[in-house]
């Protein structure tokens, strides 16, 4: 479905002076894109039921809505991938019943998906010019004009504040933030006037996010319209000017962000007030024996995790904050026996349960919701039932979880119970997990671990890429587990989430806990200052 790059001749023709908007007040500027009463049906199921959206130059417009509200469908109509069933799209004052990918591209609409579309094996340079490599003639033979590419790329990448980037390195070896910037640069080279960004910050650290925001502000100042899709309200408030909310395919609100509180926005998205903070209600007794005690855990390479010790008390959620790459996930892998250790002990209620591999970890009642749903989380060829039942089956069965027959009836009961308790939205537990939204997939994975009634639960980025409603539900589960006397550990790169859920925050840097802060008094600034102490 890739939009084919245009002929160079046509780019010139469609380049309709993007900067004519001038400094006039935002409200008066005519929208570049106006979507009116957009409807879309798939197999007689209405996904969009009359949605309106105005995008003006020099403005960051935020599109809010839960997973499944219809945001992606709307974007696909805007970029010409889907045909709308009803409504009209007005581009620069000209009405279109539908937009083709070519028209969208000529009008300067460009989208950056959450799953980046750069080709990891190619260099930054090749990615920027993919499909339209410039050629020159040498002895009559056309050859790639690397010099021209390099000069053009340098100027654009420099504009985005990444002047020092090695343009010849394969993109796959770069951090995600850099790949994203390359993707933005690709859009800029096509004279973008409307840049759509679908959850661009979901895999960025807070520092990288700040850098991205600086870039978005720069584009805005240059007169580009930015349509920003995000679930993170604090972020939305920081970067956005105006907003629209979608709920179940209907526009439920729009306006200037500054005129509304976060609670207002959430109410428009979810239809109810969502609780924001989940800290322990009473005080936590830290004098008695801890539920979980971790002593001197070191990874096999003695680098990524170095001599880490901590305790988790009854009723407490311990958070791990820190930059991406600081070794938090490596520590969790070491605790769960998924990674080799050079040493260390894990003591649950006074008993040594140090697991040598995940099989032993599961058997002794540890649960580990891993960071990456797709890669290490779910089993794509299994139904909801299969995904939930697998851990319990392993835990119950002798011979390393391999012996015995599958008890379908019992497993269905377990899966049904988790579906009910976590209110997983699905057609039934026989549905394939691939057909669920991200939030519901995550709930299935939570259910998979809840079904073994674990005593130690590690949540690594439990709400990455899922919507507000599902998020607060998962936070509630985390709190309920802590209240039930389980040892709960949560790793998160989203500081608001850490502050909302954790009673104590261990700040991780270079494989060590640098400091442990009290959750009630910690702030994003105090955590970051520890995470980045010594300038690193």
């Amino acid at each position: 479905m890739a939009i084919r790059p245009d002929d160079p001749n046509e780019i010139d023709m469609s380049n309709l002076a993007p900067n004519t908007a001038g400094p006039a007040g935002i409200e008066e500027v005519a929208p570049i894109v106006r979507m009116v009463g957009i409807e879309k049906h798939f197999n007689n199921v209405a996904v969009l039921k009359g949605v309106n959206l105005d995008i003006r130059p020099g403005e960051v417009h935020v599109l809010l809505g839960e997973n499944g509200a219809g945001k992606s469908t709307l974007m696909k109509i805007l970029t010409g991938i889907h045909e709308p069933t009803g409504g009209e799209i007005v581009l620069d004052g000209v009405s279109h019943p539908l937009v083709t990918p070519r028209e969208a591209s000529e009008a300067g609409i460009s989208i950056i998906y959450q799953e980046l579309s750069v080709i990891n094996e190619l260099s930054a340079l090749e990615n920027l010019f993919v499909g339209r490599l410039p050629v020159k003639r040498r002895l009559g033979v056309p050859v790639v004009d690397w010099k021209l590419m390099e000069t053009e790329a340098r100027s654009i990448i420099g504009r985005l504040g990444l002047g020092g980037l090695d343009l010849h390195k394969p993109v796959g070896e770069m951090p995600i933030a850099h790949r994203q910037i390359i993707e933005i640069a690709k859009s800029l080279m096509k004279n973008v006037r409307v840049l759509v960004m679908d959850e661009p910050t979901s895999s960025l650290t807070s520092v990288e996010t700040e850098r991205l925001f600086a870039l978005v502000r720069q584009l805005k100042a240059e007169g580009t319209a930015v349509l920003f899709i995000s679930h993170k309200l604090d972020e939305v408030r920081e970067i956005g000017d105006t907003f629209s909310v979608l709920k179940d395919g209907v526009s439920t609100g729009h306006g200037r962000i500054a005129d509304y509180t976060n609670d207002d926005l959430v109410r428009m998205m979810v239809g109810r007030v969502v609780k924001q903070r989940f800290l322990a209600e009473g005080s936590i007794d830290r004098t008695s024996m801890p539920v979980l005690k971790v002593e001197n855990v070191t990874s096999a390479d003695r680098k990524r995790v170095r001599d880490v010790s901590f305790e988790v008390h009854h009723g407490e959620v311990l958070g791990f904050a820190g930059l991406v790459g600081s070794g938090r996930t490596d520590l969790m892998n070491c605790l769960f026996g998924a990674e080799r250790r050079a040493g260390g002990r894990i003591i649950l209620n006074g008993a040594d349960i140090t697991p040598n591999n995940p099989v032993e970890a599961v058997k002794s009642g540890m649960a580990y919701l891993t960071e990456n749903r797709r890669q290490t989380g779910f089993t794509p060829n299994f139904t909801i039932e299969g995904n939930i039942a697998v851990t319990k089956s392993v835990k119950d069965a002798p011979l390393r979880g391999t012996w015995g027959l599958v008890d379908r009836k019992a497993e269905r009961a377990v899966a049904e119970e988790q579906r009910r308790q976590l209110s997983i939205r699905c057609a039934g537990i026989d549905q394939s997990i691939l057909e669920l939204s991200g939030g519901n997939q995550q709930k299935v994975l939570v259910g998979k671990w809840m079904s073994i009634a674990p005593s130690v639960i590690i949540f690594d980025e439990p709400t990455r890429g899922i919507d507000v409603g599902a998020k607060s539900q998962i936070h509630e589960i985390i709190r309920a587990l802590a209240n039930a006397g389980k040892a709960v550990i949560m790793v998160s790169s989203e500081l608001p989430e850490i502050l909302a859920v954790c009673d104590r925050v261990a700040v991780f840097r270079n494989g060590r806990i640098m400091d442990t802060l009290d959750g009630a008094t910690a702030t994003e600034e105090s955590i970051l200052s520890v995470a980045m102490r010594d300038g690193k």
């Binding site: 197999n43 769960f336 998924a338 591999n357 995940p358 099989v359 970890a361 599961v362 058997k363 580990y368 891993t370 890669q375 290490t376 989380g377 779910f378 089993t379 794509p380 060829n381 299994f382 299969g386 697998v390 851990t391 089956s393 392993v394 835990k395 069965a397 390393r400 979880g401 391999t402 012996w403 015995g404 027959l405 599958v406 998979k448």
Partner: protein, 316 residues
């Protein structure tokens, strides 16, 4: 929409059978007098039994997104060991247990352990062991066939129960056991989990290395039992037996709708996949297509059968 989903599920289960029926109808039309005779139908099953046996084993490595290229050599080596044991005076049952069952499991374990310890793709490991096992077969036999073993053994294995040949009964009942294994046991289900996503299986507490080992041992066992069937049918253990059989086994598994990417496939469809290969072979023989042309037609039919399957799978 739900109707389309149902159709898709039905195709998953009965698709391979439909392909078999199409091929049967085709050959019946081309050879109305001979092809459909009951003796010939029995003959097709008999000719397919060794392919089915090997394909049943090959199914498992493919199910975990791997492959076993050594099945042909395992067949030859286990057959050779069994034959030599019988010639040396061992009781045929004991010889089959040591050579066919034990040998098959052991050679499979060699594959599995190598895959686990080196971390290399099974394609590379079994490409290597395929040559090694064949070489060992040549060495222990001096590259000449071994025959002159017990008539009782040959008679039993090539006999009939009613009108059904023993190898057919053997292959089909073994298929039934494996079907039960994949569908009802924890071990079987865990193998599907490993095939779907090794990493998430690992983090769920499934011992991926143990399952990889078991998968290759099953493959070895099936090839070992096929080795026993093969020496009985030929009345001799040929050092070159089973050369190229891995192609037929893989073809049967893939025609049976098993995904090369792992985690998807069914034992009954693999049996039908094996029957399709056998039917094509048989039909071409009856039509007196010369051997060299048979190869060409066979290759073309394999590609068409799988292409058709995927086309229909995509349409839903």
């Amino acid at each position: 929409m739900s109707q389309r989903v149902k159709l898709g599920k039905l195709w998953d289960i009965y698709g391979t059978l439909c392909i078999l029926l199409v091929i049967v109808v085709l050959f019946s039309a081309l050879s109305p007098t001979y092809f459909t005779r009951p003796e010939n139908i029995v003959q097709i099953f008999l000719q397919s039994s060794i392919t089915i046996m090997i394909a049943l084993g090959e199914f498992f490595p493919i199910l975990i997104a791997g492959i076993d290229l050594s099945v042909g050599s395992v067949l030859a080596l286990t057959g050779m060991i069994t034959a030599q044991l019988m010639v040396a005076g061992f009781d045929p049952t004991l010889a089959v247990l040591i050579g066919g069952v034990g040998g098959g499991l052991a050679l499979g374990a060699v594959n599995g352990l190598l895959v686990n310890f080196t971390g290399l793709h099974p394609f590379i490991i079994t490409l290597g062991t395929n040559a090694i096992f064949r070489g060992v077969t040549m060495i222990i036999s001096g590259a000449s066939p071994v025959f002159g073993f017990s008539y009782d053994f040959v008679d039993t294995v090539t006999g009939f129960v009613g009108f059904v040949p023993v190898p057919v009964i053997f292959a089909l009942s073994f298929a039934a056991v494996l079907w039960f294994f994949t569908a009802k046991t924890r071990l079987g289900r865990n193998i599907y989990a490993v095939g779907g996503n090794k990493e998430s299986a690992f983090y769920s507490g499934i011992d991926v290395k143990l399952h990889t080992l078991i998968v290759f041992m099953i493959s070895g066992l099936c090839a070992g039992l096929a080795g026993v069937l093969s020496i009985a049918r030929l009345g001799a253990a040929e050092p070159a037996a089973g050369t190229g059989f891995e192609t037929y086994a893989i073809a049967a598994v893939i025609i049976g709708g098993t995904s090369f990417f792992g985690g998807k496939g069914r034992i009954p469809s693999v049996v039908i996949g094996g029957l399709i290969i056998g039917t094509i072979n048989n039909g071409l023989n009856i039509l007196r297509v010369p051997t060299f042309y048979q190869l060409v037609v066979m290759g073309g039919l394999i590609i068409s059968a799988v292409a058709l399957d995927r086309l229909i799978a995509r349409m839903r």
